[in-house]
Structures are given as structure tokens and as C-alpha cells.
Symmetry: C2
Subunit: 363 residues, 2 copies
């Protein structure tokens, strides 16, 4: 039997080859990359897909498709989340019907009480999350909060539970936990319900996820097939694994030192970037001579995900490999653009607080 991948954990999974082979993921094809004008495609940050052809053909023929993604409101957003949000914004720019789920109930039921003891706490996170979403360029109409949804959504979340056997669930997730079952039911509903006639109606949908979330994707597609609604199978594209700032980690809300949060102070972000694990050599002399070991550098990986200008990214690469820049200087470059981003972003966050509260509490 295939090894179950735990989408709840935060360990690094170093090798996804078996996923491609065992679960039938498709490598993301060059022919699509060329026509999708975003650094995530250019830089092969998007590495795989299921049924993306359908979406590509909608984009080419300028027909609408559903752009649906979401993040559990289990804490503040960090740069890892920002990548997912930017992908969402890219599909928005291509004429999609846009739905971003701020998943407060999901966060509450799936996280330990030590982290999220009450639904109220999850809603506080939701406010902060919405501030980020609005500040990054989403409009109010693009965002929904799970706890503010209409009856049909919840009915549908319960309804689809009938289409999942206990054995399937346990095989996919490696556990049967009632709170996490609830969170999953809501996640399947998030993705699928917009295809119901009461919402956007039947059409292809696209969701960008991490490779470790593929079990969700597979099960969501399986449920789509079993429901009595003639739904289009949802499409997914997959992000390359995004490392944390430390060696061997994933960006994780539960380990603040591994990630830069969108509401981190400039000071904290500087400190985190200064402490980031790089591919620096033991001595300056060696590094001048050999260049940095860029393939293990978490700071360069951060740039690859987040620095928008591809020419600048090439320059960093050259400066590293040629030994022109030592790691300290290179970090300063990143600190500068991150500080500038955070400063502007946090101004927008403040401006969006009131609106975010209204959206989270439905007032």
C-alpha cells in the first residue's frame, strides 16, 4: 500500500518522486509554462498538475473557470501563504470566478486546543487573514469566511460525507479524528460547492496546493465523481515544496522562526533573514574562490519564490556563484526588498482592519 502523506504535519518531505509515480500526478508541461506569464511557472515553482488542460483551454478561449483556494485561520499568514495568494491573484487576472476561503471553522476543529481553544480565537485570526488578503489585492467579493456561509454550503458539506468510506478516509489521512473529519468535509465543500447550480454552476475549477496536500485533492476528485450532481472534476496545480528559513524545515506558523509573517515587524524580519540558513563556505576566502553552495541556500529559495524581477534573481545567482557577494551582502539585498514590502503591506493592513472585522464577524 502507498505510504500515507500527512497534510497536517510540518516535516520536510525530501522526495516526491513516489507521489508522481504512485498517485498519477502529471509533471507540469512546458507548453503551458510558456503561455502563463508568472514567475511561478517560469521558475518551475509549479511542478505538477491534475487536469490543468481543462483550465488552460478555458483561459485560451476566455471562458470563465472557478478559482478556489483557502487557508485555515490558524494563525497569521506568512510568506509561504503569500505564494498561494499570489497564484490565486494570477488566476483572478485571467478572468476566473474567484473564491478565497478564510477557513475559521476548519482551523478550530482541526487544531489542538492548545493552539486554537475556541472558535472565537479562529475568528480573530480570520480578521488578520482578511487584512492580508485585501492588502495583497483581493477584493471583498473574492473572499468568503466559512462561518459566514449560507445554509446550502453546510448542507452540502454534510451531504458529501456520505460519499466517503471510513477505510478510504483512514487510508488517505492515516487517522480518523472527528474534528479533522469536520475540517476536511468543509474543505471538500469549499472546492466543490461553487459548481452547484445555486452558485456558479458546473465548470472547471483550479486550486493551487502544496504537493503534500495531494491526498485532499485525490479524495476531493473522488467525491466529485460520487455525488449526484454531475460535477466537473476539480483541477489542481502543485507548488514545489517551500522550505522554511532554517535547514530542513517547512515554513510553519507553529515555528515562527521558520517563516516571515506578513505582520512581522521590520526588526523581526531582518533578524530572521539574517539568521537564515545559506550555502555559505567556511571562510570568506573559500567563498570568494568557489562561490556559494546555492542549491542548499534557503535565502536563495526565498528569493526564487518571492523576488518578482527575474533579472534581479539572475543577478543574485551570478553574484553568489561567482563569489562576488558573500552571504551577508546577499542577505542585505533580500532584507531590503522584504522590508520595503512589509512596510507598505502593513500600512494597507491597518487601513483594511475595519473592513476585515466586518467581513469576519458578518456585521
Amino acid at each position: 500500500m502507498a505510504e500515507a502523506i500527512d497534510p497536517w504535519g510540518s516535516k520536510t518531505v525530501s522526495d516526491y518522486a513516489h507521489v508522481f509515480k504512485e498517485f498519477g500526478l502529471q509533471e507540469f508541461p512546458e507548453k503551458f509554462r510558456e503561455k502563463l506569464n508568472h514567475r511561478f511557472f517560469e521558475r518551475k515553482i509549479i511542478i505538477a498538475h491534475r487536469d490543468f488542460e481543462k483550465i488552460f483551454s478555458r483561459i485560451e478561449s476566455k471562458k470563465p473557470f472557478i478559482n478556489i483556494t483557502g487557508i485555515a485561520s490558524s494563525g497569521n499568514y506568512h510568506f509561504g501563504h503569500k505564494a498561494g495568494i499570489e497564484l490565486f491573484l494570477f488566476f483572478k487576472s485571467l478572468g476566473a470566478k474567484n473564491h478565497f476561503s478564510v477557513s475559521d471553522i476548519d482551523a478550530y476543529t482541526s487544531r489542538d486546543d492548545s493552539k486554537i481553544p475556541t472558535l472565537k480565537k479562529a475568528k480573530e485570526h480570520a480578521v488578520s487573514n482578511i487584512q492580508d488578503l485585501l492588502s495583497l489585492g483581493l477584493e471583498e467579493k473574492d473572499i468568503f469566511v466559512q462561518s459566514g456561509k449560507e445554509t446550502r454550503y453546510y448542507e452540502f458539506a454534510f451531504e458529501l460525507s456520505k460519499k466517503i468510506t471510513r477505510n478510504t478516509f483512514e487510508a488517505v489521512y492515516g487517522h480518523i479524528d472527528l474534528g479533522k473529519i469536520s475540517a476536511n468535509l468543509l474543505q471538500y465543500a469549499d472546492i466543490l460547492h461553487f459548481q452547484l447550480e445555486e452558485f456558479d454552476g458546473k465548470m472547471p475549477s483550479i486550486t493551487g496546493i502544496g504537493l503534500d496536500q495531494d491526498p485532499h485533492a485525490r479524495l476531493t476528485r473522488d467525491i466529485a465523481k460520487r455525488l449526484p450532481y454531475n460535477l466537473e472534476m476539480p483541477s489542481f496545480i502543485y507548488f514545489e515544496h517551500q522550505s522554511g528559513l532554517m535547514e530542513g524545515t517547512k515554513m510553519s506558523s507553529s515555528q515562527p522562526e521558520t517563516a516571515i509573517f506578513l505582520n512581522d515587524s521590520i526588526k523581526d524580519s531582518k533578524k530572521k533573514l539574517s539568521n537564515t540558513f545559506t550555502g555559505g563556505r567556511p571562510t570568506a576566502e573559500e567563498q570568494r574562490k568557489l562561490g556559494g553552495n546555492i542549491s542548499i541556500c534557503k535565502k536563495f529559495e526565498f528569493d526564487k519564490f518571492h523576488l518578482k524581477d527575474s533579472k534581479e534573481l539572475s543577478k543574485i545567482r551570478e553574484n553568489c556563484l561567482s563569489g562576488k557577494w558573500l552571504c551577508g551582502e546577499c542577505k542585505l539585498y533580500t532584507i531590503e526588498y522584504v522590508s520595503k514590502f512589509l512596510e507598505e503591506h502593513q500600512k494597507k493592513r491597518a487601513d483594511n482592519l475595519e473592513k476585515a472585522e466586518k467581513m469576519a464577524y458578518g456585521k
Copy 2:
């Protein structure tokens, strides 16, 4: 470990003594029976309780309490359901806040597709169920349909899932089935959510259930304790087991010959009552001499539950035990009052169809 009782099955459980002992059920006390003016108490049809003292004291001091019960919309209501509805009406007459759940989502997710293949089917049953409820004397404001509830109810149903461990669930129900988990979450929510400040607020609640539903009751009380809302522990009273019309059966929607349905034709109900298992002797002569074996008579049990006039019930008993009436004559008595009830009830059902449809479909 205690044997799990399966509330989904429809087998006769002949001996509940172990339930009383193992699970701490209280026998329903005489002091309450005397003051509760309804045949269910007088005739010891209500046999047990959990925390009924709280309700009794609210009744005596004329303070409100929550009267909450529900039936899954898995088919037409029969006389077994009618007993539960009459108990609900009794508490309504005592000044309760009344909430009857027409459980359409529950019915869909917990029943096999062979029985309820779509939510649409469950809603069709809901219409018929509401027709019965209105015809039996409930008002529109006493009834809610699960699929028509507001967001907070669903949010709460998901929220409480976090308070149930997999082990508890499996120990109580003997299974982990996602559709049935959904049904259960809604049932806990049905009972508990009215105590939230957004609804009636904290106060004692009463629910009448069959003894075989006690696992639900225990788990519901356990959840009430664990939620961060300072809820009153819900109270329960327990019906004696209600047999079907055939030997060794329970009244069951899935075996139509075991029950008289509230929309059965007079002809069908006559046939079912004529075929009911009685305590008749092998020959008329013996029966005239010995009287009927009333303790095994399903027809007399039916009368005990459903014949309102206690003097008439005593007369039947005497006529049986003395040998004055043979079973055929005795059945005619029951056929007469049942036919009269059905005739009147079905007129009311027809009058209530349009209203029931509006309530079920939220139009």
C-alpha cells in the same frame, strides 16, 4: 467493556436491565408520575430518566425549559413516531420552548442509498413528516427543518465535533462511518444549540427517546460538558420499548408490515391490525375458559400506547382476561378507533400539504 447498543438497528432488545445498571439510568420515580397527567406516565410507558428533576422543578415553578426532539426524515411517520410526538405535545402544553427537528440531512447521510439516494428524497419525506406534525397539533413555530437552519447551527455542529474522540465514538456506536458521524453531529447540535445565547439561552432541556437511543444521550451530555459554553446538561426521559405488530419486531419504517403509518389507507391499517400477533389461545373454547395471554399480545401493547381513554383500556384488559372477547372482536375495537383517527388525521394532512411544502423547501 459495556456492550455497544446500536441505535441504527431495528432488532428487539429484550432486556434493558444491564443498561440501567451499567450506564446509570434512573428508573422514572412515582412522585413525578402522579403529577404528570398523561397516559405515558400513568401507564409506565416512560420508564427511565436522566436528570428529569431539573425539568420537573421548572414545570412546578412555571419556568420555561427547552422541549427538543426530532425524527429523521427517512420515511413516513408511523404510530411509533406518533408516541414521541404526543410526548412532545405534552411538554408543549406545560409551557416549554418547543423545537421539533425534521431531520432531513441526518436522514440522507445516515441511510443507505438504496433507501435515501438523494437529499431531495429526504426532503420529500420531510414534507410528509411536517404534514403529520401540523395535523397532530404542532404549530409552524414549533418545527424546524435541518436543511433550513441558520449558519450558527451548522457552525455549532462542526464545532462540537472537536469534543468527541474517535475512541469514544467507536465505543458508543460500534462504527466509524462518515455519513453517520455527520448525522450524529447534527443530532447533538439539534439538542444543544438552543442553549446558546443566540437562541433560547442556557436552560434545562428535555428530550424523550427510546431506551436504545441512550448512547446518543450519554454522548450528548458528555459533549455539553466539554464545550466552552457553560451549558445545562440536557435531560432525557426514556420510552419503554415499543414492539411492532408482529412477534419479536420493532415498529420499523423499513418493515411496513410491523407498523401502521399515519398515511396508511384505512384498508391497509385494517389488514395490518387483523394480522397483528396476539395472545390468543389455540381454540375459542380454551380462550373463553382461560382468557387471552395478554402479556404477549402486540395488539394490547398497541392499545396501551395509543388508546387515550384509560377506562376503555381497562375494559379491553378485562374482556381479554375474562375470555369475554376473543381476539377477532378485540381487534375490531382497535380497528375502529384507529380508522376514525386515520380518517380525521388524513383530512388534516391534506389541508396541511401546501404549508408543509413551504416549510420544507423554505419558500
